[in-house]
């Protein structure tokens, strides 16, 4: 029974963009141990809420902002594992999506750089490394964020201590915190103005089964303050290679007016002007595609708890052939504002997210169908709606539907005469 009254909220993240949004809706702040309807929690807290020991049982009028096992997508090693599993499954089914080219690379599903877990896959990694001994690899701790603990290597000796056989390794840690992933470093990123950048896109998932996700139209590019060079002498200079604002903020040239950020529309204008419209459209189609594929990959293993929604921060790098690569997905994208524009963007992001996740700003009922009307989307647009996609016939002219992702056209371009490419919109 839904009680009339204001939504009671709790948060353990003291950020004004959140709190201002709650207050403007007239919601009431309560403490964690009281009756609450909406809890915007950190990833540490979500672990407790759904942990077996503390056994929280959420009621129908309670919503939280994370899925219980979001780490299947947001931990670097699990994301890669799930995507690899997904690809193998599609291959087994004989799905056209899993088609490979003459070099054995997936044509449509090769969007994560070659990655290995350390120390588990150390030997496999060495094999791959030796095929291209001049390549650079990037080491990332599985459980950290904001660029912490990341470093680049181009010699096996630099990661000796992750070798499983190493007798000198005092590194016999069972703790998942010390696990690392090592990925082929994209040393040919698309440069603009000579600078490297990555894309931060926000994606809201309201349900995994059926998959319903929204893309925030106002993503941004994060530029490094220093000119990019693949030169080995600069491998240690994190200002050249890592685009995390947390790192760039401490560089000499960091600017507090624009914060080294560009809107996605600037990127689009630049690419259309310098590269042409078709390749730009294709790039954005592919970006939408890889986001949806990553979500489909984890959908089967996600705990699709009806009390949950999640707003992810997707990090994508574009290489100089205009191919997008999925670097990682963040469960708790930063809500800190580095500039005035940033503050406005994040405020609106939360606003639009709440409008979708908590309909009408009223006390929620988790039994609702999670299908918000188009008017409340704000700056979000539907990225993929599995339910809607399945109710369409495959031969319906999808181009005529407004507000759909342009992934349709991209998919058709890929659909090289193969029958029934299961609805990518």
């Amino acid at each position: 029974k839904i009680m009339a009254g204001k939504v009671k909220w709790v948060t353990d993240i003291e950020k004004s963009v959140l709190i201002n949004n709650f207050e403007k809706r007239g919601w009431i702040q309560v403490a964690e141990n009281e009756d609450w309807n909406f809890y915007w929690m950190s990833v540490q807290t979500i672990r407790n809420v759904f942990s077996v020991e503390t056994g929280y049982r959420l009621s129908d009028d309670q919503i939280v902002n994370h899925f219980p096992n979001h780490y299947e997508l947001t931990r670097k090693d699990l994301m890669v594992k799930n995507i690899k599993r997904y690809r193998k499954e599609l291959e087994k089914e004989g799905s056209p999506l899993a088609e490979k080219d003459e070099n054995g690379k997936y044509i449509y599903l090769d969007f994560v750089p070659v990655t290995f877990m350390l120390p588990a896959d150390y030997n496999l990694f060495v094999e791959e490394f030796r095929k291209n001994p001049s390549s650079t690899w990037i080491m990332k701790p599985c459980g950290k964020a904001q660029g912490k603990g990341i470093f680049l290597i181009n010699k096996l000796s630099q990661i000796k201590k992750w070798s499983r056989d190493s007798k000198t390794s005092s590194f016999v840690s069972q703790s998942s915190k010390e696990a690392y992933v090592i990925s082929l470093y994209i040393n040919n990123p698309l440069l603009i103005g000579g600078k490297k950048f990555d894309l931060r896109l926000y994606v809201l998932v309201s349900t995994y089964r059926p998959l319903r996700c929204y893309m925030y139209k106002l993503g941004f590019c994060r530029f490094c303050t220093v000119k990019y060079t693949p030169s080995t002498s600069e491998l240690d200079n994190m200002f050249v290679h890592l685009t995390n604002v947390a790192i760039q903020k401490h560089g000499d040239d960091y600017n507090h007016i624009h914060g080294g950020k560009w809107t996605v529309s600037n990127l689009r204008l630049y690419l259309e002007s310098t590269r042409g419209k078709e390749v730009t459209n294709k790039l954005f189609d592919e970006i939408h595609w890889i986001i949806v594929q990553s979500l489909k990959a984890v959908a089967p293993v996600m705990n699709n708890d009806k009390h949950c929604f999640e707003c992810y921060g997707y990090d994508i790098i574009i290489d100089d052939k205009l191919k997008p690569w999925l670097i990682e997905v963040n469960a708790s994208p930063s809500l800190t504002s580095s500039t005035a524009n940033d503050r406005i963007l994040k405020y609106n992001l939360i606003n639009d997210t709440l409008n979708i996740a908590v309909p009408n700003g009223e006390i929620p009922d988790c039994k609702w169908n999670k299908s918000p009307p188009k008017e409340v989307l704000g700056n979000y647009e539907v990225l993929y709606d599995e339910e809607m996609a399945q109710s369409d016939g495959p031969d319906r002219d999808l181009r005529s539907r407004p507000g759909q992702s342009t992934g349709v056209k991209g998919n058709r371009a890929r659909d090289s005469g193969k029958p029934v490419l299961t609805t990518w919109k």
Binding site: I192, G260, S273
Partner: protein, 292 residues
């Protein structure tokens, strides 16, 4: 038009605005920039001049870029390209040719102790153009179109010697800044006499606000996509008059709010942010709408 490589046709075409993907090529066609090997060589030569010796104006360029483009949401990315282009530009003596049709004269510098003796005079800087605050904003929008430095350079140089130089030199030319100021004031006074009178009464002379827009050809004030649509017309009609018309159109658009202000500061505030304006509808309303 592009297939035919017809420069005159391109000029006609861009009057309606360019599709983003074709703009770079169309402008290059209109400006006659083909980036031949000799052009690239010339640019490389300029770059080596930059490396070989410093000029005092280099400091002005650094300062200008740091103060303007580096703080701009759209252009900060291209900081390095701006330095490159402007440092080369200062050393490019071919720019001196434009003084034959400009009413300005390049500044001269004399060898020490030989002041006034023409045999010991050189033009300074080598291109005869002393950069000023905001100068780099002439180059910045072009960085969205040309990512190859030598082409970017040539396009900018041509834009400068055809158009931009008129915005900072005194002349009677219809596209010169003096004529633009006059045009702006005339348009405003003719079509919005009440507003014009009101602003003058409160000490907020309209030209004081619009001057900076016109001198910079609106670069840094409009969103880049809108700015490029505006510059399409400059190229298409081979005239800068549209800058004065747009300035008046902006005042017309915000007339209601402007009528209510009572100080220069308040008027400036109403007109501080042009980043959301759409150039073409604004111009069309101002030029063609029958209701005043």
């Amino acid at each position: 038009v592009l297939a035919e490589q017809d420069s005159a046709a391109a000029q006609q075409y861009v009057r309606q605005g360019c599709p983003t993907a074709l703009r770079a090529d169309l402008w290059a066609l209109i400006l006659n920039i083909s980036n031949q090997p000799e052009d690239i060589l010339y640019y490389e030569q300029l770059k080596s001049n930059v490396i070989q010796h410093d000029l005092l104006v280099d400091s002005l360029i650094y300062k200008d870029v740091k103060l303007t483009a580096s703080n701009d949401d759209y252009y900060f990315v291209f900081e390095d390209y701006l330095y490159q282009v402007l440092l080369c530009f200062s050393r490019d003596t071919s720019v001196l040719e434009h003084f034959t049709y400009s009413s300005a004269t390049p500044p001269k510098s004399y060898i020490r102790g030989k002041l006034g003796m023409e045999e010991y005079a050189v033009f300074y800087p080598p291109n005869g153009v002393i950069p000023f605050h905001g100068f780099s904003m002439y180059v910045a929008p072009l960085c969205f179109l040309y990512h190859e430095p030598s082409k970017l350079y040539q396009i900018f140089r041509e834009m400068y010697v055809r158009f931009f130089f008129r915005l900072h030199s005194i002349s009677s030319h219809p596209s010169g800044i003096v004529s633009l100021c006059l045009l702006f004031e005339t348009l405003l006074q003719t079509h919005l006499p009440q507003l014009f009178y009101h602003l003058r009464e409160i000490g907020a002379q309209p030209l004081r606000i619009s001057f900076k827009w016109m001198v910079r050809a609106f670069s840094g004030y409009l969103a880049t996509d809108q700015l490029l649509l505006l510059w399409d017309r400059i190229l298409g009609y081979n005239s800068l008059e549209i800058l004065a018309v747009l300035a008046a159109a902006v005042f017309a658009f915000r007339a209601v709010n402007l009528m209510e202000v009572t100080s220069l500061a308040a008027a400036e505030a109403v007109l501080a942010d042009l980043s959301t304006l759409k150039v073409m509808p604004l111009l069309q309303i101002f030029l063609f709408a029958t209701v005043t």
